[in-house]
Amino acid sequence: MAIAQTIHGEGLEVFYARRAQSSDKPAAYLASNEIPESLVPYDDPSLLGRYTRPSGEEGNLETTLRLEKIRCAACVWLCEQHLRRIPGVKDVQINYVSQKVKVDFSPEQTSLARLLFEVERIGYEAWPFEPSLSIEKSKKERRQLLTRLGVAMLGMMQIMMYAWPSYIGDSDITAEYDLLLGWTSWVLTVPVMVYSAGPIFQAAWRSVASFRQTHMLGMDVPIALALALAFFAGTVNLATGSGQGYFDSITMFVAFILAARYVELLARQDAQGGAEALAKQLPATCERVPNYPSSQQVEIVPVVNCNPGEVLRISPGDIVPADGVLIEYESALDESLLTGESKPIDKKIGDRVYAGTHNILNPLLMRIDAVGQSTRIAGIASLLDQALQAKPLMVSLAEKWAGYFVGFLLLSAFLSSAIWMYVDSSRAWTVLVSVLVASCPCALSLAVPTAMAAAQGAVTKLGLLIVRGHVLEGLVKATDLVLDKTGTLTMGQPELKEVVIARSEFSRADALSLAASMEAGQKHPLALSLLRAAEADNLSLATLSNPITNQLGRGLSSGVYRLGSATWVGAQKIAQEGQYGQVHLADDKGLIASFIFLDTPRAGLETLLAAAKSRKIAVHLVSGDDPATVAWWAHEVGINSFQGACSPEDKYHYIERLQKEGHFVWAIGDGINDAPLLARADISIAVGAGAPLATAGADAILTASSLAPLAKSLLLADKTQLIIKENLIWALVYNLLAIPAAMMGWVNPWVAGIGMSLSSLAVTLNAWRLRKA
């Protein structure tokens, strides 16, 4: 209601007509105009300085917020409109793709905390985003390449127009016009050579300069050489007034190469941005108890200002901001982010609590012993970094061969030119340029990337976002598939499976509504599942006469009713393997009902396992869950090798062992605890809404919630491989025909240029077929 009032108050009702999905989370405090305490510290100078930058005149500040819970364009529209109506906000720019919003505001009239609160008021969440250098860099890189491409394209189009008379061989054209058109083309070619092709020359030069260490030449070397020679020859021909200028070929060549590189760059930068992820995992503010133990008064401070030794209070539902020791109030914490164990862990006084875990039961007090970079979560992140650097690079093999090819090419070009010098010195130059242009490894260098780009487009439509190029190549070679259980094989969400009624005077509905009303307001996953089940059955919650008390580690009680573990309630535990858990409801006369919960398997699992089986891929299940549950699930879905109770390090070593035995490992996971596993595997796929850090280490991200797209991607990977082979063979045949022909002097440069372009076109069109898959 609070959200509805805010929306209506501003005349933004249109939103209801435009939104695609309804939102949840109406909170009482949203109705008031007060900024909640948890957001106030964002105005603290230490945080404000981190998240805002001065912008323009009059002392305005600029900040970038990352929006959460955005589901459709209407949500974006609402956020934008709402922010614009806040007094003091100068400008709002929302990027739909990255869900980031840039706000210019005047610090006298409004504040960062106010902006965050206003976004929360309309039902979304925003967190200030510290723009990392890498993101700025990739944006700059993208814009620069686009400008270079634009210049080359403009140059190409214009020069082709000037070259038209020479294409059609119009004899009307007289020498002076020829000269005019020639020099105009030259003027336009210079910026293309200097600006657009600049990086090619630089890369070629670096490759040559580092030849002593690497003994390899990059693809850029013959390209740069061909461009330089053609430009030089064209200029000489223009000055002497004989022969042709190659300006049209040069600009076209540059434009094509840059277009291919731009597409490649876009694909690579897509879905990156993992560096921002870790910040999101930990809250920016926390509740500090400065005068513990004499007083338990809390103050809200930025986490960055906390030091080891200080005492923090963590409310239920909050994320622990630092590593430490529990000193007061026992509670249960969800550590799934770190261990993968999906059930909350009971913590007693003196137990360690870790940053990034989720407090579920009671407000607790902890003493910090590590913050920031020394926490365990940061340790996992650095393990991930290491693994990423050590990632096996199949790509390097292709590069190595290309390097040899380039060397061979240069050698043959100069050799044939030298021979021609001896036979007929007037043609040596033409032959040199022809060989370089004709054999330019364009088709060869396009063969793989174009097929990859087309296939990536196709799998993206299926719901698989590829971050690193070798995924499709790797899927074909995979011999082993390693799955994580919680969140990957299963949804990690308990569902009420069965209600076993012990006494006949209670119906299923009675028992469920009683249990649900006791669990109302609890954050335990089982409680949430009970509430969901009650809601699904349209049960109204029973009113309880007595207050509910929470008995840690045992359950809840309210008057005569008790809801909780079997031993506490005095019930017989119902034996059923693979279950997520069970709770029992009893009153003073004994057991009323038992509720049995089961984790739900992820949709499309069977399809994926069937596809894996048909390709003879061995499937492994590794999980942080207890071994019995893992065994049950492995048996349930038909997986033969499995291992339970794995720490992130164990998972890492499991894959390492497989790889040492010569297996090619494909891993699928979701949590932060899977991040090292994903980084270690030869190819890794992070499942959907997994932890951002896990997606950062993955080669691909499954955006669909079903696993079925992976089975289809396997088929597509086969097809891609086939097309790449066809492309490579075609490029090879072309080069085998064109290079000797050019060496023999049968081909002049413009024919070579057309041949080169046609072979590239054929390769691209062949790759294009993949899009329809």
């Binding site: 509805a4 209506h8 005349g11 009702e13 249109v14 209801y16 435009r18 364009a73 209407a74 974006v76 529209w77 409109q81 929302i94 990027n95 739909y96 793709v97 944006k139 814009r143 686009l146 400008t147 634009g150 210049v151 403009l154 140059g155 214009q158 127009m161 000037y162 016009y177 005019l180 058109l181 105009t184 003027v187 336009l188 910026p191």
Partner: protein, 59 residues
């Protein structure tokens, strides 16, 4: 045909102008988000305000 001596320099100027416009538009972020502005037009705030939405229904 003599007009070419005038027209071709003009075409060069035009190309220069186009290149500058392109440079400006890339720099101004016109190519950063190719989908959002298209949708934003459909979401423009130009529908007449209905005063009594809240009285009628909240579906």
């Amino acid at each position: 045909m003599e007009s070419l001596f005038l027209l071709i320099p003009i075409s060069l100027l035009l190309i220069g102008l186009l290149a500058w416009i392109f440079y400006w538009s890339v720099k101004a972020g016109q190519f950063d988000d190719l989908e959002g502005p298209g949708e934003a037009i459909l979401m423009d705030d130009d529908t007449p305000k209905s005063k009594n939405v809240s009285e009628h229904s909240h579906k």
